[in-house]
């Protein structure tokens, strides 16, 4: 399959949003490898949190073209949300909604809860000081920081999602989450096991000095 077309995004845009990088491509490869298995789960609602350029979401939407899948793209960065919408349209995708928000905060989880069949998150995973993860929509300087700064152990944002996992994933749902070694993937898996989930490493690769993992998370039988 061809790579998603993101030719509309300019160099100056990439000063403010995350540019598709090794972790992006690793996640896309993992999803391509997993596509047949995901299709067997017959996913209807897909969500990607932190879409950035929209590269991954466009890739996923094309992998599952002509299936039931409808995708929600979420980004805290207003420019990323706007560009994601353009990327999806440019790649011939119509079954989507883009929302500019922080994680899934505005979703009424008692209504939307346990409804996500395919959840994708390439989080800001770089260990930084906690104060670096303060996002301010009015301060464009913080926009790009929000794409990578993960606070303590790079886990402050990922942990919020892990804590909500039970309210998010549908009974047959599957989540693909990127982590790096410094995030302590074993601890992530142990934490999720206590919450009733099984974690499988579907990719593990050293790229530019980062040991990257793609974790697959499903409910225990």
């Amino acid at each position: 399959m061809e790579d998603p077309d993101i030719s509309h995004i300019t160099e100056s845009n990439f000063q403010k949003i995350y540019s598709p990088s090794e972790d992006t491509f690793l996640l896309c490869d993992a999803l391509t490898d997993e596509a047949e298995g995901i299709k067997e789960r017959n996913p209807k609602i897909g969500v990607e949190i932190g879409t950035g350029s929209g590269y991954v979401l466009a890739h996923v939407s094309r992998l599952f073209k002509n299936t039931d899948l409808f995708v929600f793209g979420i980004d805290i960065n207003p420019l990323a949300a706007k560009l994601t919408s353009k990327t999806l349209t440019q790649n011939g995708i119509s079954r989507y909604e883009v929302i500019n928000c922080n994680l899934l905060n505005p979703f009424a989880l008692d209504r939307f809860g346990s409804m996500i069949d395919l959840l994708i998150f390439n989080p800001p995973y770089v260990p930084t000081e906690s104060k670096e993860i303060q996002f301010n929509p009015k301060d464009e300087e913080t926009w790009i920081t929000s794409s990578f700064a993960g606070g303590l152990n790079g886990m402050e944002i990922t942990q919020k999602l892990i804590n909500q996992m039970d309210q998010l994933l549908s009974p047959h749902g599957v989540c693909y989450l990127i982590a790096i070694h410094e995030n302590n993937p074993h601890q992530i898996a142990n934490d999720l096991a206590e919450k009733g989930f099984r974690t499988i490493v579907v990719k593990k690769k050293r790229l530019r000095g980062e040991l990257l993992y793609v974790l697959k998370i499903i409910r225990k039988k």
């Binding site: 017959n42 039931d68 706007k82 079954r95 929302i99 500019n100």
Partner: protein, 128 residues
């Protein structure tokens, strides 16, 4: 912004009373009716999760309640009612708010919608 999504969003403003968080009020200044591929089993699966009263209210706020008359509840055997499924598909996915805003019913806080995208961001002071 589609009415499917409107059916799932609530106000997270700290000072908003619980019972006024859902649904958000719609103020639509530009609406477009588009064409999106119909997937039957998607629609069949999503219908039981939709708050039908909220969907009716949304159409009313957008001035579309005469154009699209939907009953107060989902018809029995809706799975086999092709006309109903097509109508539900159109209302949930193909009516698009291009420009406008959502308004929190409890506080009046506005969430702008531009280029189809709702900005639901809150400052940390406003948030729960």
């Amino acid at each position: 912004m589609k009415l499917l999504t409107h059916n799932m969003l609530e106000s997270q403003v700290k000072t908003c009373p619980e019972e006024k968080r859902f649904p958000l009020k719609i103020v639509a200044t530009e609406i477009e009716e588009t064409e999106i591929e119909f997937q039957r089993s998607f629609i069949i699966n999503i219908i039981p999760k939709i708050d039908w009263g909220v969907l009716r209210g949304a159409l009313e706020e957008m001035g579309l309640s005469e154009k699209y008359e939907i009953g107060s509840k989902v018809p029995e055997n809706y799975e086999e009612d092709e006309t109903f499924l097509q109508l539900a598909h159109h209302i949930l996915l193909e009516i698009e708010i291009i420009t406008g805003k959502f308004v929190c019913r409890g506080t009046g806080r506005e969430f702008p919608i531009e280029n189809k995208i709702a900005n639901m961001l809150l400052t940390s002071e406003e948030l729960n």
